[in-house]
């Protein structure tokens, strides 16, 4: 188990490095244009050239890559080309926003899919069919449309929850929860669909196993059989699906943040990408891929916790 986790960690780090390097190369393909972009259309060529020199854009790509790699590995993500604010600082303020809605979405998806998936597997009949059909639809509707609908109906029309803005939990936990509720729900939609379907399927299989019959023969309550024994055995594949969905959540956050006017790393990425602010884009990419790697590691650990056979190895 430990060596397995180490291997996964190594693969994760490789992934981060590869993706970041590819992004670096892509973003730095056109050096002169970037400087022109930053100083503006009206600036003289000399000013553009000066800017390029200041940012080190006149050096050869290979050299800049090595410098960037060295800095990044020591945790220095550089400064924004436009605002000169250190990327690390910007990320520090943006990350809690995104993490809040992503974690919220994860928790919502896990809870809802456990309830829906288990009930669908146990109840069969029309309830099961409805769940399956709704899951297909929920999976198909783009998350940002759900976000728009929620924003329009719940926030704008009824005014039950704030339509925009993020309140840090340090300021008020209740307000923080209110500010992340709608974005989290919107984000969770697709993940709920996929995870529910998976859980329903594996739960259905587990419920037919011999040991479930034996547990029933011992007169255990239906709740214990379904939510303790069957769920525990059906959870690993659903967990895998959920951890795959996390990648989608990170991507979905980019759009959901725009809808709800949240200044998370998603909107940071959009703004920086539109501007061509390479250091910020790079920082966001690194953080996002790190997040994915971290969540996969956590999923591996949880998998081991759920499955004693894996733990023993």
């Amino acid at each position: 188990m430990v060596s397995f986790l180490l291997r996964r960690l190594l693969a994760g780090i490789t992934l981060v490095l590869l993706v970041a390097s590819a992004t670096f190369v892509m973003l730095n393909f056109t050096g002169a244009d970037i400087a022109r972009n930053i100083v503006g259309e009206t600036a003289t060529p000399e000013q553009a050239w000066a800017k390029a020199t200041e940012l080190g854009l006149d050096e050869p790509l290979a050299l800049r890559y090595i410098e960037w790699l060295g800095a990044t590995l020591t945790g220095d993500l550089g400064k924004s080309w436009f605002t000169t604010v250190p990327v690390g600082t910007t990320l520090q303020t943006a990350l809690p926003v995104t993490l809040s809605i992503i974690l919220g979405a994860l928790i919502i998806s896990a809870l809802v899919s456990v309830v829906l998936g288990s009930l669908a597997a146990v109840r069969a009949g029309w309830f099961d069919k409805t769940v399956q059909f709704s899951a297909v639809l929920a999976d198909a509707v783009p998350g940002f449309l759900v976000a728009l609908a929620l924003a329009l109906v719940i926030a704008v029309n009824f005014g039950w929850l704030p339509a925009t803005g993020y309140v840090p939990y340090q300021r008020s936990v209740v307000e923080w929860l209110r500010s992340i509720t709608l974005p989290s729900i919107a984000l969770a939609f697709g993940a709920i669909a996929a995870t529910t379907l998976q859980l329903r399927g594996s739960m259905f299989d587990v419920l037919q196993r011999d040991y479930v019959r034996t547990l029933r023969s011992r007169g255990l309550t239906e709740n214990s059989i379904v939510f303790k024994h069957a769920l525990r055995n059906a959870a690993p594949p659903a967990l895998t699906v959920l951890s795959l969905q996390f990648i989608g959540l990170v991507g979905g956050a980019v759009i959901v943040e725009k809808v709800f006017g949240l200044r998370g790393i998603g909107s940071l990425a959009t703004a920086a990408a539109v501007q061509g602010d390479a250091p910020v884009v790079l920082g966001v990419v690194i953080v996002m891929v790190l997040l994915v790697v971290a969540v996969n590691l956590v999923a591996d650990l949880a998998y081991g916790w759920l499955n004693p056979k894996v733990r023993a190895e």
Partner: protein
């Protein structure tokens, strides 16, 4: 118009005939037809856009800003005065064409890679799998942001990149199909007969992956449409391109003044993506046969017990402390099969006395296990069960719901299964799954329950009860597991023990020990036992009375000595003969068994 039944087993659509069937089946599914019609209409609208509107979708006019619906603008105009209807039509062009690009690239990359990896395996496969894992770990939209920032603002370039990012899903599908087909005999035969690899792939492998690929294509198409819309909504993409996402972007800016503007593009996107998803779903149904359907149509157990005459006043004032522990009258178990029912237990009646062992004997398929399960209320949900009466120690069990049945199960009626390894919950320690029912039924503390379970484990002959208590099922042997299950069965001092072939799955040496254990526990606790078995040796060893079953029906019931000495039915005689022929020395068993137990009732 009923959909022809398909085999539950999947499904190698290798010939064109099969494909036509698929199409026919699809056209019988109203959801699929609706989805196809919607998609066809969308395609037609995007092609005929210039005919359906005279407006230029990108021409803005200040005068028409946020114009309401009217003759000139059927759906009004947006925040910069562009005609919404025209934008919708031309936006369909962008969406559909862009999604096509993504699908084309995904398949152009995924199919060759999948064929390569799945057919040749080895190094190519390892590298491709590694690459696809990596690609799937990166959020697509981030990559697209970077690409659109650095390389090109064009939607089509972005969609081509999306196709590349998404191609691992095609690769995986193709690879998996190829790996499974590769091992088929007809592919081997083709290889032996000297067909080139290219020909084998074209002739034998591509047809197999065709249908799943269509499903995959529909899904990727949907994903591409929603991602493309998402990017445009974020404000990426060239401003001269009309698209549904760009419409959303504009509408979002006017969300407070003209929320209706959001509706049209949102509706268009939803219609398209849900149609695609439903189409994919219908295709999967049509292809995978009834697999999914069957699962979803499992019914609740239909347990109906016609109480025996006068059983309404059933509960006797005084509990029957007499010899009779369980009486089953005219038990019938049925299963639904295509268009009817199959009866697996037909009119079985039996009596178990307190402190006596009833053997339930028959060949496999005789319905003996089904009889045992129905007494415990453990038939699968789709089974139907009827009886004139199932009286257990004065209570009527037939027709009891789960909750009511749980007052008996585990506490007063216990069960020992046949296959020890598959009957322990693999995710919990042996100890915790034994403690749980003990605590529930006897209402004792966790500590007392643990002590009880440990002493039970010792009683059933486990030398290191503490270690086994903390073990997971996969860490103990089959014989040990069966002892654990026996301990679980007797943990709450049941009156009736139902053992379903408890020794069949075990080594011969362990079999005798387990039988001895069951016998001594039965003696010690004066339990009634139903022992399901096909082995007359076991019957002779341990049973007092025997009921012989064949094809769901009762053949005869008699005391053991009587049955061995003077079988009434031809079938019993035949069974006995075959058993005795198989194992000659066993003729001696009859005597010792009776003699040893001294029960000639």
């Amino acid at each position: 118009m009923s959909v022809p039944p398909t085999d539950g087993l999947v499904v190698v659509p290798s010939a064109p005939v099969r494909r036509r069937h698929l199409m026919v089946r699809l056209l019988h599914d109203p959801v699929a037809v609706a989805a196809l019609v919607i998609l066809a209409l969308l395609a037609a609208a995007s092609v005929l856009a210039p005919v359906l509107t005279s407006h230029d979708p990108i021409r803005s006019s200040l005068f028409d800003t946020l114009a309401p619906m009217g003759p000139d603008h059927p759906l009004g105009a947006d925040g910069v005065g562009r005609d919404v209807w025209a934008q919708l039509l031309y936006g369909a062009r962008t969406s559909l064409a862009a999604a096509l690009v993504a699908v084309a690239v995904a398949f152009a990359v995924g199919i060759p890679a999948g064929l390569l990896g799945g057919y040749y395996r080895g190094k190519a496969d390892a590298i491709l799998s590694w690459a696809s894992n990596f690609m799937m770990a990166v959020p697509a939209i981030i990559v697209l942001l970077v690409v659109m920032a650095a390389v090109s603002q064009s939607t089509y370039v972005a969609m081509a990149v999306l196709g590349l990012i998404i191609s691992p899903s095609v690769y995986r599908l193709i690879r998996a199909s190829v790996v499974s087909v590769r091992e088929e005999l007809y592919v081997d035969a083709a290889r032996v007969s000297g067909l080139t690899d290219g020909r084998i792939m074209r002739r034998h492998i591509l047809p197999v992956v065709q249908a799943p690929s269509i499903i995959q294509a529909a899904q990727i198409f949907g994903v591409a449409i929603s991602i493309q819309a998402g990017l445009a909504f974020l404000g990426l993409g060239s401003p001269s391109e009309t698209s549904w996402g760009a419409m959303l972007n504009d509408a979002f800016a006017n969300i407070y003044t003209a929320p209706m503007l959001l509706l049209w593009p949102a509706l268009a996107i939803c219609l398209t993506t849900t149609s695609l998803a439903l189409l994919a779903n219908a295709l999967r149904d049509a292809l995978g046969g009834k697999k999914v359907r069957q699962k979803s149509s499992v019914q609740r157990p239909k347990t109906s017990v016609r109480p025996a005459r006068g059983a309404k006043s059933a509960k006797p004032a005084v509990r029957n402390l007499g010899a009779e522990l369980l009486r089953v009258d005219n038990l019938k178990v049925t299963y639904p099969v295509d268009g009817g029912t199959r009866t697996v237990v037909d009119g079985v009646s039996l009596v178990v006395e307190r402190g006596k062992v009833l053997g339930l004997v028959g060949e496999s398929g005789s319905g003996k296990s089904q009889t045992a399960f129905s007494l415990l209320g453990l038939l699968p949900p789709e089974a139907g069960m009827q009886a004139d009466g199932i009286r257990f120690d004065g209570d009527e069990l037939g027709g009891l719901g789960r909750g009511a049945m749980n007052r008996f199960r585990g506490k007063r009626i216990a069960y020992i299964p046949q296959e020890p390894m598959s009957n322990l919950d693999p995710s919990f320690t042996v100890g915790s799954q034994l403690v749980e029912p003990v605590r529930q039924h006897l209402r004792i503390s966790a500590r007392a329950a643990k002590a009880k379970v440990l002493s039970l484990l010792e009683r059933v002959g486990i030398t290191e009860p503490g270690r086994v208590f903390d073990s997971y099922p996969h860490q103990i042997s089959g014989g040990m597991a069966q002892r654990v299950l026996i301990a679980g069965a007797v943990s709450c001092d049941p009156d009736l023990l139902i053992a379903d072939e408890p020794t069949t799955a075990l080594d011969v040496t362990v079999q005798a020990e387990i039988l001895d254990l069951i016998r001594s526990l039965q003696d010690e606790r004066n339990m009634g036992v139903i022992l399901v078995t096909h082995d007359f040796g076991v019957v002779a060893d341990i049973c007092d009375r025997v009921t012989v079953m064949r094809s769901g029906k009762l053949v005869e019931t008699a005391d053991v000595a009587e049955l061995f000495a003077n079988p009434q039915a031809d079938y019993t005689r035949m069974l006995l003969a075959s058993t005795l022929e198989d194992a000659k020395p066993r003729t001696a068993l009859k005597g010792p068994a009776v003699g040893r137990r001294d029960r000639t009732a």
